[in-house]
C-alpha cells in the first residue's frame, strides 16, 4: 500500500487515513474530530496565502495547517483495504457512510 502525507494532496483530491503520527495533543484532537484510520478525507481548498487548508471529513469541514496535515498518512481510495487496519479494528469503518 502506497501512502502519502495528507499535506501533499492537492485541492480536489481525496484519500483514506491510514495513520496519525504522534501521541500528543494534536494527534488526539485530530482523531477525536474523526481523522482515524479508515476515514475518507477530501481536500477542499487552500487559504488565499496557501496555508491553512480546508478538508472534509465525516461530513464536517475542518481547516488545518500543512504542518498539522503532515502527521496524517493517507492512501488512495482504491488501494485501501480493511486488511490494512489493525486486527482489533477490522470490522470497523463503515466506509459508505464515512464517505458521505
Amino acid at each position: 500500500m502506497q501512502t502519502t502525507r495528507l499535506a501533499d494532496l492537492k485541492p480536489g483530491e481525496s484519500g483514506i487515513v491510514t495513520a496519525v503520527a504522534g501521541i500528543g495533543r494534536l494527534a488526539a484532537r485530530l482523531m477525536e474530530m474523526g481523522m482515524v484510520p479508515g476515514a475518507t478525507v477530501n481536500v477542499l481548498r487552500k487559504a488565499p496565502l496557501g496555508d491553512p487548508v480546508q478538508y472534509r471529513v465525516r461530513g464536517a469541514v475542518i481547516s488545518m495547517r500543512s504542518a498539522e496535515a503532515a502527521c496524517i498518512s493517507v492512501c488512495a481510495e482504491t488501494e485501501f483495504s480493511r486488511q490494512d487496519l489493525p486486527d482489533s479494528m477490522r470490522d470497523s469503518s463503515r466506509l459508505a457512510l464515512v464517505a458521505g
Binding site: 495533543r25 482523531m31 496565502l49 481547516s63 470497523s92
Partner: protein, 752 residues
C-alpha cells in the same frame, strides 16, 4: 401542564436539580441554554482557570432546576486546567457536587462526530439525556434518523429539539425529570446509574488493573471517579494522568506505561485506539439509526466558500468587511459617545447649579460623574463591536476570516483566531480583549490579550492630533496629496502593531512556551444570524463590562481625582468659582464679562497651583528625573501619571497644568498657544519636534487605560497579568520615547 404534574411524585428537594449541558462547539448549546434559563443567568469564573462558569435557573413542572452550561468540547480528554473543569464538573471531583442529570447536545446533521462525546459521557455513569438539536435542519436536509433505534442503541432517552425555534423543549424537560426519577429509584435500591462502556474488553481489563493498583495505593477519592482512571490510561500526557501521579506516586506512571504497552501488543495503541473503537461503535449504531442520508450535493456552504475564501476575491471581501465594520463603528459610536459625554456634562451642570462650590460638589462633578462618564463612553463602542462580532460569528464568516488570516498571524507565533480580537483592538482594546474568548488555546489567548493593548485604539487619537497639529510642519508632498502630518499619524498608529509582532514572539518563547500554536478548527456551515442569539451576546458583553469593569474604573477615577485635589486648601478656588457664578454676564465686553475673564484667569492659576502641590503634582516632580531623558519636564510627567485612568485624559490635564481650566480639547486654540509657548526654567522652549514625537511614541506604547487593565484582570482571572501588561508596556513606552527623543535630537543637531 405536562405529564409531570405535581400529582406525580415530583421530587420535593430543597436544592434545585443540577442539570449540566454538554456538547460539541456550534451545536446550539448556548441557544438552548439561554432559551431554557431566560434572563436568570449568572456568570462567573471557575476558580483558578479562565473558563466562564455559567449557571441559570429554571422551573420545570414545579421542580426547581439549576442549569450548568459547560464549555463546548469535542471530547472529554483534558489536556489543560481549562479543559479539566468540564471533567471535574461531570465527575463531581471539583468544588461542586456532580450534576443530577446531564444533557448531551448533538447537531443532528453531524451525528457521527457528535456521538463521540456522547459515548464518552456515558462512561461516567450519570443519568444522561441525548438531545438532537437542529432537528429542523436535519429535516430540511431530508436526513432520516430513527430516534427509537438510537435510544435503544445508546440505552438512554433521545429527544429532538430546534433550539432556535424553541420546539421540543417540553419533551426534553420531561425526559430529564424522568431520568432523574429513574436514578433516584436505582439509588433507593442501592444501585448506581449504569456505565455504558464503548471500550473493548482489553481496555476495560487494564482499567480494572489500574483500579486494583490504586486500591492498594490507598487513594479513596480517586476510586470514587472510575472515569478518571480510564482517562489517565487513554490520554498520555493529559491532565488526569498528571493529577493521579501527583496524588499517588511516579510508580503509577510505570503502571500506565506497562498497561499501554500491553494494549499496543494487542494493536490497541493509545491514544489512537480510543478514537478508533468509538468511531467503530458509532459506525455500528448509525448503520441502524440513519435510514436515509441523501447523496450530498454541493452544498450552499461549499459554493459560498469558493467565493468567500477565494484567493483574490476572498481577501478583498475580508478587507471590505473589516473596513465596513470599523467605519460603521466610527460613524455610530462617536455621536453616541458624545451624547453620553454631553449628558454627563449636563448632569455636572445640574449638580453645580444645586450645590455651591465646595468639596462635595467637586467630588460629585469632577470625581463621580466624570468617573461614571469615563466608563459609559466605552459602552457604545463595545456594544457595536460585539454586535458585529456576534453577527459575523453567528453567520459563520468569522471562522473564514480566521482561516484566511492564519498565515499572517503565524508570523507572530499566533493563529488566525487572534485576528479579529486584534483588529477590534484598533477601535478599543476592551472589546478586543473580551473577544479573545474565541481562542481555545490558552497560550495563544493570553499572548493575544497581552499584545491587544498595543494596537492603536481611538483614545490615543486626541494625543496624536494635538502633537502633530502643533509641532509637525504643515507641509505636503505629491502636490498636496500626501500631507506630512497624515504620514506621521499613520506611522505612529502603526507603531504598536509593528512592536506587537516581536513582543508576541518573545512572549511565545518565554512565558508561554510550549507546543507551537495549532490551527485545527472546524468551519461551521453558513447560516442566517439569529436576532435572538446576537441580541443576547451584545447584552451579555455590555452587562459584563459595566458590572465588573465599571466599579473598578470608577474607583480609579475617584482615586486620581483625590490625588489631584489633596493636599491643598481649596478655599480660594471655591471662592473664585462662587464669585464667577454669581456674576451675571450679559456680554463678554461688559464690566461683568471683563471681571469674569479676570477671575477665570485667577482660577486657572489657582487650579494649576493646587495641582502642582497635590499628591499628583508632587509625584510629577518626583518622577521628573525619570522623564528628563525623554525630553519632558515635570508637567508632562504629571500628565502621564494623571492619564492612568485613560489616555485621552492627558489633554485635559495638560490644559489644567498649563493654566487653562479643564474644559479643553485637542483643538483648543489656547492650549495650542500655551504648549507652543511653554518653556523650561532657563527659557528654552519645552516642545519641539523630537519632544512631541517622544510624547506620541510613549502614548502609543504605554498602558495608561484602567479599563483595559481591569478587563485583562477579568479575562485572565488574576491580577498578575494586568500588572505584567502595565510594567512591560510602560518599559517599552519609556524606551521607545527615549529613542525617539535622543535620535530626534541628534538628527536636529546634525541638520542644523
Amino acid at each position: 401542564m405536562s405529564q409531570m404534574s405535581s400529582s406525580t411524585t415530583a421530587p420535593v428537594s430543597v436544592r434545585p436539580l443540577r442539570v449540566a449541558l454538554i456538547g460539541n462547539p456550534n451545536t446550539g448549546k448556548s441557544t438552548l441554554f439561554n432559551a431554557l434559563a431566560g434572563m436568570r443567568v449568572r456568570t462567573g469564573n471557575y476558580p483558578g482557570v479562565t473558563v466562564e462558569q455559567k449557571t441559570g435557573r429554571a422551573d420545570w413542572a414545579g421542580t426547581p432546576i439549576e442549569l450548568i452550561d459547560l464549555p463546548g468540547t469535542y471530547s472529554l480528554s483534558p489536556r489543560s486546567p481549562d479543559e479539566m473543569v468540564t471533567v471535574d464538573v461531570l465527575t463531581g471531583c471539583g468544588s461542586q457536587p456532580r450534576p443530577d442529570v446531564v444533557i448531551c447536545i448533538c447537531n443532528a446533521t453531524a451525528l457521527e462526530r457528535n456521538l463521540f462525546l456522547v459515548t464518552q459521557v456515558q462512561e461516567i455513569g450519570l443519568p444522561t439525556v441525548v438531545c438532537l438539536n437542529m432537528w429542523d435542519a436535519a429535516l430540511r436536509a431530508q436526513l432520516k434518523i430513527s430516534i427509537e433505534a438510537l435510544s435503544e442503541e445508546l440505552g438512554v432517552p433521545v429527544v429532538t429539539t430546534a433550539a432556535l425555534k424553541r420546539t421540543g423543549f417540553q419533551e426534553l424537560q420531561d425526559a430529564v425529570l424522568q431520568q432523574y426519577q429513574t436514578s433516584q429509584r436505582l439509588s433507593a435500591s442501592g444501585l448506581s446509574f449504569p456505565v455504558v462502556m464503548t471500550l473493548t474488553q482489553p481496555v476495560q481489563d487494564e482499567i480494572t488493573n489500574l483500579t486494583d493498583w490504586l486500591v492498594l495505593a490507598d487513594c479513596p477519592q480517586l476510586l470514587r471517579c472510575p472515569f478518571l482512571i480510564s482517562r489517565s490510561l487513554l490520554d498520555p500526557g493529559g491532565s488526569v494522568e498528571q493529577r493521579i501521579i501527583q496524588a499517588t506516586s511516579t510508580a503509577y506512571a510505570e503502571q500506565l506505561n506497562a498497561a499501554r504497552k500491553r494494549l499496543a501488543d494487542k494493536s490497541l495503541e493509545v491514544p489512537a485506539a480510543e478514537s478508533m473503537l468509538r468511531y467503530r461503535r458509532i459506525g455500528q449504531i448509525l448503520q441502524r439509526v440513519i435510514t436515509a442520508s441523501p447523496a450530498s450535493q454541493r452544498s450552499l456552504t461549499d459554493r459560498l466558500d469558493a467565493i468567500l475564501t477565494h484567493r483574490f476575491l476572498g481577501l478583498l471581501i475580508c478587507i471590505a468587511v473589516m473596513l465596513l465594520v470599523f467605519s460603521t463603528i466610527n460613524w455610530f459610536s462617536a455621536p453616541l459617545s458624545d451624547g453620553i459625554d454631553g449628558s454627563m456634562g449636563w448632569l455636572s451642570d445640574q449638580v453645580a447649579s444645586l450645590l455651591s462650590p465646595g468639596p462635595l460638589r467637586s467630588l460629585l462633578t469632577e470625581g463621580v460623574i466624570a468617573g461614571v462618564g469615563g466608563v459609559l463612553v466605552f459602552l457604545p463602542q463595545i456594544s457595536l463591536l460585539f454586535l458585529f462580532i456576534a453577527v459575523l460569528e453567528d453567520c459563520g464568516y468569522m471562522a473564514r476570516a480566521a482561516f484566511m488570516m492564519d498565515r499572517v498571524m503565524a508570523f507572530a507565533g499566533l493563529s488566525g483566531r487572534s485576528f479579529l480580537p486584534l483588529m477590534s483592538s484598533f477601535a478599543c482594546a476592551v472589546p478586543g480583549i473580551m473577544a479573545t474568548r474565541v481562542i481555545e488555546d490558552r497560550r495563544d489567548r493570553f499572548v493575544t490579550i497581552l499584545i491587544a493593548p498595543l494596537m492603536s485604539c481611538s483614545a490615543r487619537l486626541p494625543v496624536y492630533l494635538l502633537m502633530t497639529g502643533l509641532f509637525v510642519p504643515n507641509i505636503s508632498y505629491l502636490n498636496g496629496l500626501l500631507p506630512l502630518r497624515a504620514i506621521v499619524l499613520l506611522c505612529i498608529s502603526m507603531l504598536g502593531l509593528v512592536v506587537a509582532i516581536p513582543v508576541a514572539y518573545v512572549l511565545r518563547k518565554t512565558f508561554f512556551k510550549g507546543e507551537p500554536s495549532t490551527f485545527l478548527m472546524e468551519l461551521p456551515e453558513y447560516r442566517l444570524p439569529s436576532v435572538r442569539v446576537t441580541a443576547h451576546r451584545v447584552w451579555d458583553s455590555g452587562k459584563a463590562f459595566v458590572q465588573q469593569a465599571g466599579t473598578l474604573i470608577f474607583a480609579t477615577s475617584i482615586i486620581v481625582w483625590a490625588a489631584g485635589s489633596f493636599p491643598g486648601s481649596h478655599e480660594r478656588r471655591f471662592e473664585l468659582m462662587t464669585e464667577i457664578e454669581s456674576l451675571d454676564v450679559a456680554a463678554e465686553t461688559d464690566a461683568n464679562g471683563v471681571r469674569a475673564a479676570e477671575l477665570s484667569e485667577q482660577l486657572n492659576a489657582e487650579n494649576a497651583k493646587l495641582l502642582e502641590n497635590s499628591i499628583l503634582g508632587r509625584t510629577g516632580h518626583l518622577i521628573e528625573p525619570l522623564v528628563r531623558p525623554l525630553g519632558w519636564d515635570w508637567r508632562l510627567g504629571i500628565g502621564v501619571v494623571a492619564s492612568f485612568p485613560a489616555r485621552e485624559v492627558i489633554v485635559a490635564t495638560l490644559g489644567t497644568i498649563f493654566s487653562l481650566g479643564s474644559d479643553v480639547d485637542e483643538e483648543n486654540e489656547g492650549l495650542h498657544g500655551a504648549l507652543a509657548g511653554a518653556t523650561w526654567p532657563d527659557g528654552r522652549p519645552l516642545f519641539n519636534l523630537p519632544v512631541s514625537i517622544s510624547v506620541m511614541v510613549f502614548f502609543a506604547l504605554c498602558a495608561q487605560c484602567v479599563s483595559t487593565l481591569v478587563i485583562i484582570r477579568r479575562e485572565t482571572n488574576s491580577w498578575r497579568w494586568p500588572l505584567f501588561s502595565f510594567v512591560y508596556m510602560t518599559v517599552l513606552a519609556w524606551i521607545g520615547a527615549f529613542l525617539a527623543y535622543q535620535i530626534g535630537m541628534q538628527l536636529t543637531t546634525l541638520s542644523s
